[in-house]
C-alpha cells in the first residue's frame, strides 16, 4: 500500500508537469471558491483561450490519452488520464468546454461512427477546434432517460427531428451534438430509439439558457423544430439507440468530477472567526460544531480516498464500476449540510449577502447544492444503482415492460 506512482506513471507525471508549467499559469485561489463562477465565465474570451489550450494539449500528446493511436490518442490506461487531470487541476487550465465532447460524445463516434466520420470529426474535436454537446435528457425523461419523446421521422435519406432537450451543457457554443431520438413510438421504450449526431447550426435548432433556482444559467434547453439530419449521421442501427447511449453513459463515469463548493476546510476556517450559539466562545471551540466537523471530514476523506481506491483499480487496468455513485451522494449531501450550518452559524446575519466572500460562497452554494443531488442522477437513482448493480438486489418491478412506448401511462 503506497501512494507513489509506478515508475511509468511517475515519468508520465513529470512530462505532464513540464507541459503544464510551460503552457498554463498556476492556479491562485482554492478550487472550491471558484465553482459558481465557472460557467458564467464560458464566454467568447474564455472559449478562445480554451481552444488555444486544447490545441497545444493535443499537439503535445496529452489529449485523448486513452484513445487508440489511430484516433490521435496514446492508448494509455485510464490512470494516466487521472494523473494528467490531477496535475492539470493545479493550473489555470481551461478544459471545461471539452469535457463532455471528449469524455462522452467522441468515444461514441469512435465506437459507432463510420470510418469517414472518424476521420472527419475526431481530430478537430481533440484539438478543440470543434466542440460537442450531448442531447439526451428531456423534460419528461430525467431519471428515466430512455423515456425520451423527441421524434425523428424518416424522410428519404434524411430524418426530420422535432422535440425538446434539456439540461444541455454548452449547447450555445457547441458545433455538434450527439442526439438520442425516438424513431419508433410503437416499439417498447428501449427499442424505439436511434442515435444521431448533428450540426448545432442546423436550421430549426434553438438553444435557450435555463434560469436555475440558484439564479445562474449553466445549462440550456434545446428546441428542435423539423430539423433535418442526414441518415449518414446516424450512429448504430435504427432502433439500437439505447445500446449506443449506454456506451456514452458508461464513459460518463470516468468524467465524475470532484467536490464542488465549500467543504470542511472552508467551514473550519470560517468557524475560527465565528461565535458559538452561546454568543461567547468561538464556534470552532463548540463541541456540537466539532462533532459535525469530524463527520464532514470523514465524509470528504471517504470520497477522496475512495477515488484513490478507484485509481488503484484503474492502475491495474480495471474499468470504473458503479460504486463511483457514492461520491456524488456523499458530496451533495455534505454540501447541503455544510452550507446550511454556515448560514445558521451567523445567526440573524446568516442570510445577508455581500458581507464577505466566504459567506457569499456559502449562500450561493446553499442554493446550488440541491442541484448537485439531482444532476447526473438523483440520490434515489444512484441508490438504486448501488442496490442493483453493486449489491445484486432485484430490480424494481417494471411497469413499462412489454408495453409500446406510445401506450405508456404518462399522467397527461
Amino acid at each position: 500500500m503506497d501512494f507513489n506512482d509506478t515508475p511509468e506513471e511517475a515519468a508520465f507525471r513529470t512530462q505532464a508537469q513540464a507541459f503544464l508549467a510551460a503552457t498554463c499559469s498556476p492556479k491562485a485561489a482554492r478550487k472550491s471558491a471558484e465553482r459558481p463562477a465557472r460557467m458564467e465565465e464560458a464566454q467568447a474570451s474564455y472559449l478562445a483561450r480554451a481552444k488555444a489550450y486544447q490545441a497545444k494539449k493535443a499537439d503535445a500528446g496529452f489529449a485523448g490519452l486513452t484513445w487508440a493511436p489511430e484516433h490521435g490518442g496514446r492508448g494509455l490506461a485510464p490512470i494516466f488520464s487521472v494523473i494528467f487531470g490531477q496535475e492539470e487541476a493545479r493550473f489555470d487550465a481551461p478544459g471545461a468546454p471539452f469535457t463532455i465532447g471528449l469524455g462522452m460524445c467522441l468515444p461514441t463516434v469512435i465506437a459507432f461512427g463510420a470510418q469517414p466520420h472518424k476521420e472527419r470529426y475526431v481530430r478537430p474535436a481533440l484539438r478543440g477546434e470543434e466542440i460537442w454537446c450531448q442531447l439526451f435528457s428531456e423534460p419528461a425523461a430525467g431519471s428515466d432517460v430512455a423515456g425520451i419523446k423527441t421524434r425523428a421521422v424518416r424522410d428519404g435519406d434524411n430524418w426530420r427531428v422535432s422535440g425538446q432537450k434539456v439540461w444541455t451543457s454548452g449547447a450555445h457554443y457547441s458545433d455538434f451534438g450527439l442526439l438520442l431520438a425516438r424513431t419508433d413510438p410503437g416499439a417498447h421504450k428501449h427499442k424505439g430509439l436511434t442515435m444521431f449526431f448533428l450540426d448545432m447550426r442546423s436550421k430549426g435548432v434553438e438553444a435557450r439558457p435555463i434560469h436555475q433556482a440558484s439564479g445562474e444559467s449553466e445549462f440550456n434547453e434545446v428546441f428542435f423544430d423539423d430539423v433535418v439530419i442526414p441518415d449518414a449521421q446516424r450512429l448504430g442501427d435504427i432502433g439500437q439507440g439505447w445500446s449506443v447511449a449506454l456506451v456514452t453513459l458508461m464513459n460518463e463515469r470516468l468524467a465524475v468530477g470532484g467536490s464542488p463548493g465549500p467543504d470542511y476546510q472552508d467551514m473550519m476556517a470560517f468557524a475560527a472567526g465565528a461565535l458559538a450559539a452561546d454568543g461567547k466562545t468561538s464556534l470552532l471551540a463548540d463541541s456540537a460544531f466539532r462533532q459535525s466537523l469530524a463527520d464532514w471530514y470523514v465524509s470528504a476523506e471517504g470520497y477522496k480516498l475512495g477515488r484513490f481506491r478507484t485509481m488503484t483499480a484503474l492502475s491495474r487496468g480495471q474499468a470504473p464500476g458503479p460504486e463511483a455513485s457514492i461520491g456524488k451522494i456523499l458530496n451533495a449531501n455534505r454540501l447541503q449540510e455544510i452550507t446550511s450550518a454556515a448560514i445558521d452559524a451567523q445567526d440573524h446575519y446568516g442570510v445577508v449577502m455581500g458581507q464577505s466572500a466566504a459567506s457569499d460562497l456559502f449562500l450561493r452554494s446553499y442554493l446550488w447544492a440541491p442541484g448537485l443531488r439531482i444532476a447526473g442522477g438523483t440520490d434515489e437513482i444512484l441508490k438504486n444503482i448501488i442496490a442493483e448493480r453493486v449489491l445484486g438486489l432485484p430490480a424494481d418491478p417494471r411497469a413499462d415492460k412489454g408495453i409500446a412506448f406510445k401506450d405508456l401511462p404518462t399522467g397527461a
Partner: protein, 374 residues
C-alpha cells in the same frame, strides 16, 4: 381536552385562505421585482387587505382600534401567510412590534402606535442583531444617551419599509433596554440589504442621535427582548408550518402527476417514504406549535419552553420540507421558474430570523433545566 383550534378560528382560516387566493403570485412578483420589492407585496394590495380584514389588528384591543381577538387567531393567520410566502412585513409589524408594545409600552405609546398598526398605516420592526454571530447581551453596542439613540443594527427584518423600530440598546447605566424609535426622523439612516430571500425586506439601520423612547423598566431590556422573541417564535412557527405544509402539498401533487418508468413517481417507495418523513416532521412541528400557541395565549411561564420547542420543530420541518420538495421535483425543482427555490430561500430566512436553530435548541434546554428546578 380540546387541543385544536375552535370552530371560529377554523372559519377565520378558511376566510383568510379564500381572501388570499388572488395573492398566490405575490411572492413570485416580489422575487422577479428584485431586492426591496416586498413593497410590491404592499403595492399589490395584500397589505391593505390585511388591514381591511382586521388581520393586522386581530390581537390588538378594540380600544386601540383592533379587533380584540387573541393570539390563537394570529397563529391561524400566520399559517396562511406562511403557506403563500406572503411578501409583506406582517411578522415584524404584528408579532414583534405590536406584541412587544402591548407587553411593555405605556398606554399613550400603545394608543398611538397600535392604532396605526391596526389601520395598516404603520409598519414596525424589532432590531437587535449587530452583525454576524449570535445575539447576546454582551455584544450590544447600540446606546441610548440623553434620550437619543446611537449605533447601528443589522440585519433588521423589514427595516427597509418600517415606520418605527423597537431597538435593543444599552442605556446610560450600562444595562440593556428596549427603546422605540420613529424611523422617519433625522438621525436615522437605512441601507437596504440583499438577502437570500429577495421577497422579504431587510435593512441596516443606523442611528446617530435619533430620538428614542425607552420601553419597560431600566435594565429590563434583555429580558423583554427574550420574551419578545418567545412570542415571535410561537407565531413564526405557524408561518414556518404553513410553508412546510405548502412544500409537502406541492411535492405530493408533483409525485402523483409526474410519471417515470411508466408509473407515477409517487408510487416509488423512495419518494413515498421521503414524503412520509416530511409529513412526520410537519406533524411534530404542528403538535409543538399548537402547544406554543396555547402557552402564548395563556401568557404564563410555560411560554419560553413551549415557544422554543415550537420554533426548533418548525425550523426543522420547513427546512427539511423545502429541501426534499426540490429533490422530489428533480431537475424541474432546480429551475427558477418552479417555486421550489422560493421555499428554500424563505425556509432559511425564517430559520435564522430571530435566532438560528442551534440557538433555540440551547434556549430550549435552558428552559428545561429551569422547569426541572422550579
Amino acid at each position: 381536552m380540546n387541543f385544536d383550534f375552535s370552530e371560529d378560528q377554523r372559519q377565520l382560516r378558511d376566510t383568510a385562505r379564500r381572501a388570499l387566493v388572488p395573492f398566490a403570485g405575490a411572492a413570485r412578483e416580489a422575487l422577479e421585482g428584485g431586492p426591496g420589492s416586498e413593497l410590491g407585496g404592499l403595492g399589490s394590495g395584500m397589505w391593505s387587505l390585511a388591514g381591511e380584514m382586521g388581520w393586522l389588528g386581530a390581537a390588538i384591543p378594540e380600544r386601540f382600534g383592533g379587533v380584540g381577538l387573541g393570539r390563537l387567531e394570529l397563529c391561524v393567520l400566520a399559517e396562511e401567510f406562511g403557506r403563500i410566502l406572503a411578501p409583506i412585513p406582517f411578522s415584524s409589524t404584528v408579532y414583534a412590534f405590536a406584541e412587544t408594545l402591548m407587553a411593555c409600552a405605556d398606554e399613550a405609546t400603545q394608543a398611538h402606535w397600535l392604532a396605526q398598526v391596526a389601520a395598516g398605516k404603520a409598519i414596525g420592526c424589532l432590531a437587535a442583531s449587530e452583525g454576524a454571530g449570535t445575539v447576546s447581551p454582551g455584544r450590544i453596542e447600540a446606546a441610548l444617551r440623553g434620550g437619543k439613540l446611537y449605533g447601528s443594527k443589522t440585519p433588521v427584518a423589514d427595516g427597509d419599509s418600517a415606520h418605527a423600530a423597537i431597538v435593543l440598546a444599552k442605556d446610560e447605566s450600562g444595562g440593556l433596554r428596549l427603546v422605540l424609535v420613529a424611523l422617519s426622523q433625522a438621525g436615522v439612516s437605512r441601507k437596504v440589504l440583499e438577502t437570500l430571500d429577495p421577497t422579504r425586506g431587510h435593512a441596516e439601520l443606523s442611528f446617530d442621535g435619533a430620538a428614542a423612547t425607552p420601553l419597560g423598566a431600566p435594565g429590563s431590556g434583555w429580558g423583554e427582548y427574550e420574551r419578545a422573541c418567545d412570542r415571535v417564535a410561537a407565531l413564526l412557527a405557524f408561518e414556518q408550518l404553513g410553508g412546510a405544509q405548502a412544500c409537502l402539498d406541492m411535492a405530493v401533487g408533483y409525485a402523483k402527476s409526474r410519471y417515470a418508468f411508466g408509473r407515477p413517481i409517487g408510487s416509488f417507495q423512495a419518494i413515498k417514504h421521503k414524503l412520509a418523513d416530511m409529513y412526520v416532521a410537519i406533524e411534530v412541528a404542528r403538535s409543538n406549535a399548537y402547544y406554543g400557541a396555547w402557552a402564548l395565549e395563556q401568557g404564563g411561564r410555560e411560554l419560553a419552553q413551549a415557544a422554543a420547542a415550537a420554533r426548533v420543530a418548525a425550523s426543522e420541518a420547513f427546512t427539511l420540507a423545502a429541501k426534499e420538495n426540490v429533490q422530489t421535483h428533480g431537475g424541474m425543482g432546480f429551475t427558477w421558474a418552479a417555486d421550489c427555490h422560493m421555499f428554500m430561500r424563505r425556509a432559511k430566512l425564517l430559520a435564522v430570523q430571530i435566532g438560528a436553530p442551534g440557538v433555540w435548541r440551547e434556549k430550549l434546554v435552558r428552559a428545561l433545566e429551569q422547569s426541572n428546578q422550579g
